[in-house]
């Protein structure tokens, strides 16, 4: 079992929360839960509602869209970040490919904490605004067409664990934002 300090350390790795102060993250650490994952386990399917942010402590998770692998997530990386602010369908599937441990933060729990901490909420909104600005700046034309623009802004992860190149554009808007959540640099699809 992880200690509160270790949980804070893990949560601080999430791009969305990296600028939030550790004391504020402690409240989120208290409401997050540990999840043991095993090879072959599907964490969520494409049509599942987005409601949980995952932080991988150990193991490996593959993200797939339309049956094709878009990226792989390793220890210290977050996925499903957008779930904290968007409850629509996931649009991609997360499948465990190596046993490990993940920290799961449910959206409702997040909002329970954020309701009492305006600074936390402000920080999250600031990061989201920054990401959207980056998307709009990189793809102004697409960004005007809400969903299509987001579809096109999806890329492979630049993190060491994401070695698999993208195989065609995915069908969901969340993928682009998911890519951004993983710290990926959006680029124009061919």
């Amino acid at each position: 079992m992880l200690t509160p300090v270790e949980r804070v350390q893990i949560l601080k790795n999430a791009d969305l929360l990296k600028d939030v102060g550790p004391r504020r993250l402690l409240a989120l650490a208290d409401v997050s839960r540990e999840l043991e994952i095993s090879n072959g386990q599907v964490l969520y399917a494409e049509e599942d509602p987005a409601d949980v942010l995952y932080m991988l402590v150990a193991g490996r998770v593959r993200l797939l869209a339309g049956g094709r692998t878009t990226s792989e997530v390793g220890p210290g990386e977050a996925f499903g970040t957008w779930a904290l602010v968007d409850s629509s369908q996931r649009g991609h599937r997360a499948e465990c490919i190596a046993d490990g441990l993940a920290l799961a933060l449910h959206r409702d729990a997040f909002y329970d904490v954020a309701a009492g901490d305006l600074t936390l909420l402000k920080e999250v909104v600031r990061v989201l605004a920054k990401r959207l600005r980056a998307l709009v700046a990189d793809q102004p034309g697409e960004a005007r067409v809400e969903r299509e623009g987001l579809d096109a802004a999806r890329t492979p992860a630049e993190t060491p664990s994401a070695q698999i190149p993208p195989a065609g554009p995915p069908a969901d808007p969340g993928a682009a934002l998911e890519a951004a959540a993983l710290g990926e640099k959006p680029e124009r699809a061919e």
């Binding site: 200690t3 790795n13 102060g21 210290g76």
Partner: protein, 911 residues
Amino acid sequence: MSLTQILGRRLGLEPYEFPVLALMGSLAAILICAYTVAKVLRDALFLSQFGALALPYAYIAVALASVAFVWLEGITTRLHPRVGGTRFNQYTAIGLGALAALLLPIAPRWTIACFYVWTGSQAMMLLPHFWTLALDTWDSRRARQVFPVLAGCGLVGGLAGGALSGWFTPRVGHVGLMWIMAAQLVVAHGLTRIIESRRTQHHAAPATDAVSNASRWQILRRSRYIRIFAGSFALSVIVATLVDFQFKLQIQRAHPDPLALTVFLGRFYIAINGVALLFQFGAAGWLLQRLGLRASNGLQPASIMLMSAWVATSPGTLAVLALRSVQGVLSQTLGKSSIEIYYAAMRTAERRLIKPALDTLVERWSDAAVGIVLVVFLHVLRVPLRAITIGTGVLAAVWLVLSIRLDREFGAAFEQVLSSRWIEPEAALDSVRIPTTRRAMFEALQSEDESQIVLALELAANGRDPRVARAVRGCLRHPSENVRIAAVQAMTSLGLRDREDVVEGCVASSCEPLSRAAVAYLVRWGKRPAGFARRLLDGDDRRLQASLLDALFDHPGEAAAALTTAWIDARLSAGDPQDLMLAARALGVVRGRTSAGRLQRLLACDDLDVQREALRSAVRRPSPELRDALLGLLLVPELSYETRQAVAALGDPAVPGLRRLLDGGSGPRAQELAARTLARIESPRAIAALLTLVRGADERRRYLGLQALARMREHSGRPVLGRSLTHRVFLRELRDCRAARRAALALADSTLAAVRLLADSYREAAEMALERALQALACWYDPRPLTGVLERLQSADRNAAAPALEYLGHILPRNVFQPLRAVFEGMEALDATGDGAAPDLDEQLRQAWRSNDAWLRACALHAARVVGTPDPTVFMPRPDDTSAVRAEFAAWHGASPAPASGARAVEEVAC
């Protein structure tokens, strides 16, 4: 630490800024060198050709030429934006400088006259453009350190210019000197191009800042600060010109030969620039930092005042020479730097537009004004020279007063910027009273768009206009219920009479909001409000009774007389929740002490809605008898807000009870609620209770206390603590901030994620301490700009933090501001690393462990576990430690399922 690093820390520069500073310094030196050469040539040639008594006419000609050149520059920059004001001036100066060198042997008299006019007008405009470039590069805080360096480089240039003029004139002659000057201008142009290209790599100015749509005149007219600045600047020029005139009159008499005069002037400028250079690098920067802008800027007029008195009492070459030297040294050093820093309070776009024009026109027109005055006084009225000296002293006194005023406005300008996020509701309401807004409102009321009409009706409630009033009445018959509701509410707010009794018809409406609005109107503005109220109370429509009681609660008026104790008791004995709610609401309307007992009964009721209504009434009819019942409800989350208001309404009698909650026995939430409630009471006893929190060692309690006091200050609009106590509390919190920042800096570069987390936690502690420090300031100072100050100081952007420091530097006494400056202007970074020795990590962890901050202790324990400290026995938990510390301790000592191996795994993940 290398010299570059030390300089970087001292001057507050980033590494990439050093080449820019070197280039800017060179540019300043070359420009001032060229300008000094031009000045020496101009004065020597003019004085020998026309004499000193012709100077007043030259001042007037220069002023007229300045207007022409400023106009020409404006036209050129508008027609050819790519060229810009700086390039246009540099091209023109190079061309005209070379032309003068060509024409001097051919037509000396005309060339000398034109040369004088050119050097005083167009050539002078090169310098404001240089300072505009510098102001675009560095903010006002760093300008205090960088500008004296630039001004020093300028002085070196001035020395070189004096040397060139003094020793080269006998060898190359006046024409040769003119060619040298033109060549220097070419080099200056090349340097400017390089600086601009380097600056844009790191300092792309935001597009919105690039241009201002307002004309120079509009900018000047709408800004009081710029007007006062211009006035103060004009006086400084007038005084300087008068001093210079007296000086030139004396030296012309002393040196009638033109060549000797040129040599004397060259040597004089060398001497004055040499002294200024020594002063600049020796004392100017230090004086600016230590004395502040006001004192530094005031030193010049004050010294001229005193020296003018000396010249007036004992006239002679020595006294005049001393006066001119002191004025010259101070104006080139402190005067120049502080004037340029005062420009920093203007918006960038406006500054770019107005500075060259202001510098040139104010200077030249002030010269012209002096010229006219001198012509009248010396040639027409034939006043003695001593009168001019006395006049100079008087003007210096006026300048001193104006510079004090300017400094006050300088602080206000930053205050305005920092308060810009603070929205005053009165400002929004005022805008509704503007004729254009009223016209727009009237048009909206005539439109067919329902939402537009409703919005217009809501706004109409804030301003009176006969046409709008008629339109509001017209809306009472609108088919939309939403419009009718908004119309009745607007009529209530405006107090409009309902001559056709349309509102009365709305009372029976099935639409509850409309019926409620109609009841509220009739209670307040109806023809017989008491009768109307009695009719509703005697009826059996509870919905209307509830609306009536709501209306009476807000505006008791004469209708309140209809409500009797008997009616309330009847509701109480009915016992139904609806009846109890009506009774609770009614108790807030009736006067007298009879309500306290009844309210006490209702507060003890199980129904939350009834309790809430009773609390609302308790706010209206506060009674010490209710104190215990109210304090008991304070911790009920659903009633917390209403209870706080009801307890606050009790005032001082509630303080002892709240004080008990502050002690912490009822938990942290009770402490927080008690502190917030005390903030609403706003009495000396409440302040004293909160001060016990502020004076304690617990940071969370201090935060609660300061937050509550700051809120109290904000609500009451007057200081809640004494000034010196405010400063003491501020400095205490600042010490914590500084210590936490130092620790964060020392640990930030660690390769271990656990240690970096501790560094982050220290950084967060520093931010929290800063917030407490500014809350402490808000107990005495205006809280509005302090909100902006906190945001800017917390940002990592030095340019953003500059106005905040500028403002605090302006309002705080020097001994209070200096520690803050040390924290935010890079000095503590130097202290933190000391002589460059690596900090002892084990000691840092022990320090964190010894702190009273529970989270820091948990992080220290975790880091110690990961690092593998040599003496784990040091890290023994206290009985009052939090669960985070206990969990960490348990994990370390194997009592948890994830012992040391878990920490290593997380460490790898975090790394």
